[in-house]
């Protein structure tokens, strides 16, 4: 396999899954003939036919709701919600059914489904296309939630999601769709759900983040490295379940942590990570866990999105704050 962008890696994962497992179906708006608005499903419709790669009506509750009916009959639907910002019409189906089906049927029927959705900002997308509401899904018991930050992880996590016996929300940081190319292994491989990735080793402070914020954390870490402050960077990848061990062992080593996310601060996943760290590594902490996040304002239209989102500058200021605490 040659080099791939993230969106190509996702496409590849879907192709491998369709080829390997006849129960896998793809459904969503514009996923067929058009190959998806980001081309994540490019060519799959012509390769696998319209009974396996299905253009649906414009109807998120319909897509997710019928996916459940397909799943309990043994299909493994991988549905695409065109943008995470448009998942809310199907939110009830997720909260009340997708997440609870195993409990409600006492595991009587399979419920193996994946919901993919591009999310986050940074690409000058039109209004109301850029939500990062991952916490909505993390908070709902019965769902797993993952998001990759590299092409390799994108493919491996998606295949892991597809083969997971439980429903997985698979979030795709749009900003990273085409930002990086790398050689991605061919064929089926899985990045286990529940395992964070240590992106960079460090001694003085732990930067915990995911999705489109990972490159920002890494870039900030490089800058500080030169000044003698060494940052460990952790890409959570799996937002639920969290890899507590990786988080805690890093913070126990560094004694300091910053969580970075795009979503508004209040009630975001950063709160959970901070709460967890102080709960389970209290005596190791030399400073409070600081959050660098979007502000508690509606995700702005793109003219102000750079001001809204965490960036080198904001993370750097937080590092300064933490190491001089």
């Amino acid at each position: 396999m040659g080099e791939m962008t993230m969106v190509q890696a996702i496409n590849d994962a879907l192709r491998v899954a369709l080829k390997t497992d006849p129960q896998v179906l793809i459904l969503g708006e514009d996923v067929g003939k058009n190959g998806g608005v980001f081309r994540a499903t490019d060519r799959l419709w012509s390769e696998f036919g319209e009974e396996r790669v299905i253009d649906t009506p414009l109807s998120e509750a319909g897509i997710i709701g019928t996916s459940i009916g397909l799943a309990i009959n043994g299909f493994k639907p991988v549905s695409e919600i065109q943008f995470l910002s448009f998942i809310y019409p199907g939110f009830e189906q997720i909260v009340s059914h997708v997440a609870r089906l195993r409990t409600r049927t006492q595991s009587a029927f399979p419920n193996q489904l994946v919901i993919r959705a591009p999310y986050g900002g940074g690409i000058r997308a039109p209004e109301l296309h850029c939500d990062s509401t991952e916490i909505f899904f993390v908070h709902v018991p019965g769902l797993k939630v993952v998001t990759p930050s590299t092409p390799t992880d994108a493919k491996g996590l998606l295949l892991a999601a597809i083969s997971d016996p439980d429903p997985v929300i698979y979030l795709e940081p749009m900003k990273l769709y085409r930002s990086q190319k790398e050689v991605v292994p061919s064929g089926w491989y899985e990045v286990p759900i529940g395992q964070a990735r240590k992106v960079r080793d460090g001694e003085d402070i732990t930067l915990i983040t995911w999705g489109a914020m990972v490159p920002i954390a890494v870039e900030t870490a490089s800058k500080w490295e030169k000044e003698g402050t060494s940052c460990e960077v952790i890409d959570l990848r799996s937002l639920y379940p969290l890899d507590e061990e990786t988080i805690l062992s890093s913070v126990k080593k560094t004694g300091r942590a910053i969580v970075i996310h795009e979503a508004p601060r209040t009630g975001g996943l950063g709160a959970e990570v901070a709460a967890l760290i102080q709960e389970k590594a209290f005596l190791y902490l030399e400073a409070p866990v600081i959050r660098v996040t979007g502000y508690d304002v509606p995700v702005p239209m793109f003219a102000l999105e750079d001001d809204f989102r965490p960036n080198l500058n904001k993370v750097s200021q937080a590092i300064h704050q933490v190491i001089t605490y």
Partner: protein, 362 residues
């Protein structure tokens, strides 16, 4: 709602127990055994239903949603189904559930707040009651889609009420069923009310059935208290679905004789003359019993014998349900995921090690 029956509807058996002309034809084709089953099941679920209300009054189960008055709609439709058909009920379809093969004690357990009451026996394709209104409709459509994609011949039925037609999920589910021409049956028991809200406040179309045209498939409005009309219409819809002719929306016009649930007081919103009309003149079981007796299929004595049998069945099921061992608290974690992630293992452990009393009491 007195005009519920003034819609243009399919009727085989009048409230007086007389067969209409189409009814005569149908009656001739129904095997005696099935004729008896209609009666037996309607009786069975009515007795079950009354017992459940009693159990609720005695605090032995929680809030309960009674079905009395809707027996014909449930029995006529469910008896038309086969073992491998899928059913997606709402919370009032105990009759359907029992007919599909759900053990009675489990239905009782469900209303006693026990999740163990949700799981159907192997081979019974029945989902637990859908509590959020209309949400089961897309599921049923998805199951129908699976049949079509697999070239299997089962059909999939969503049961829902008149109120459900106002929800987006009804619309989105029906739309998929139409677009993909799926073997789905949308079975609406229009009992005239969504809790207190009359159908006229729910919809500006006179019937639910006519809504089907928005989705490109047929809708039929039938007398839902007429078990024959329900059975024949449902059988036809199933036949069409199995043979690839797509979905049908069936509106069974009926009435719940009692309250919405045991927590509801229906006298606040339903006029008593209307209620009496439905209880005393339009009862589905009474009219069918009249027909049976007149027809000679079943004697009054046989009927009473059957009632006795039903009561015993119900008592037995109650006993089994009530002696069902209480689930341990850790059952909370039993079916959350296929395997528990570490944080949930920890929570489960914490629950297990939760000690009673206060530290200083030890």
């Amino acid at each position: 709602m007195l005009d519920q029956l003034e819609k243009e509807i399919v009727q085989y058996l009048t409230p007086e127990g007389k067969l209409t002309s189409v009814g005569e034809l149908a009656w001739g084709e129904i095997p005696t055994d099935l004729k008896k089953q209609f009666f037996q099941w309607m009786t069975q679920i009515r007795i079950f239903d009354r017992k459940m209300i009693l159990l609720q009054r005695q605090g032995r189960i929680g809030t309960y949603a009674p079905l009395e008055g809707q027996e014909a709609a449930q029995v006529g439709s469910a008896l038309a189904l086969s073992q491998d058909d899928w059913v997606f009920p709402s919370y009032r379809e105990h009759g359907v559930a029992l007919i599909m093969g759900m053990p009675m004690q489990q239905v009782i357990l469900y209303w006693a707040g026990r999740v163990e009451g949700c799981r159907p026996p192997k081979g019974v394709r029945l989902m637990p009651p859908a509590v959020p209104i209309a949400t089961q409709i897309p599921h049923a459509v998805g199951a129908a889609w699976a049949a079509k994609l697999r070239r299997e011949s089962y059909v999939s039925v969503a049961y829902f009420g008149d109120g459900a037609t106002s929800e987006g999920d009804f619309h989105e589910g029906c739309n998929f069923a139409g677009v993909f021409r799926l073997p789905a049956i949308l079975f609406c028991q229009n009992n005239g009310y969504a809790i207190s809200v009359p159908f006229s406040r729910q919809s500006a179309s006179a019937t639910v059935a006519e809504k089907a045209s928005a989705y490109g498939f047929p809708g039929v409005c039938i007398d839902g208290n007429d078990v024959l009309a329900v059975f024949v219409t449902m059988s036809e819809a199933i036949q069409k679905a199995r043979s690839g002719q797509g979905p049908t929306l069936i509106e069974a016009v009926t009435y719940r004789k009692g309250a919405h649930t045991t927590a509801d007081d229906a006298s606040r919103y339903r006029p008593s003359d209307e209620v009496e009309e439905w209880i005393y003149r339009r009862d589905p079981l009474v009219r069918y019993s009249l027909l049976l007796q007149q027809d000679g299929c079943l004697t009054k004595a046989e009927m009473e014998e059957w009632e006795e049998e039903c009561m015993q069945k119900v008592e037995k099921a109650v006993k089994i349900a009530e002696s069902f061992p209480k689930a341990d608290a850790t059952h909370l974690f039993a079916h959350v995921f296929d395997s528990l992630p570490p944080s949930l293992e920890q929570q489960k452990e914490a629950l297990q090690h939760l000690e009673g009393g206060y530290p200083w009491e030890k």
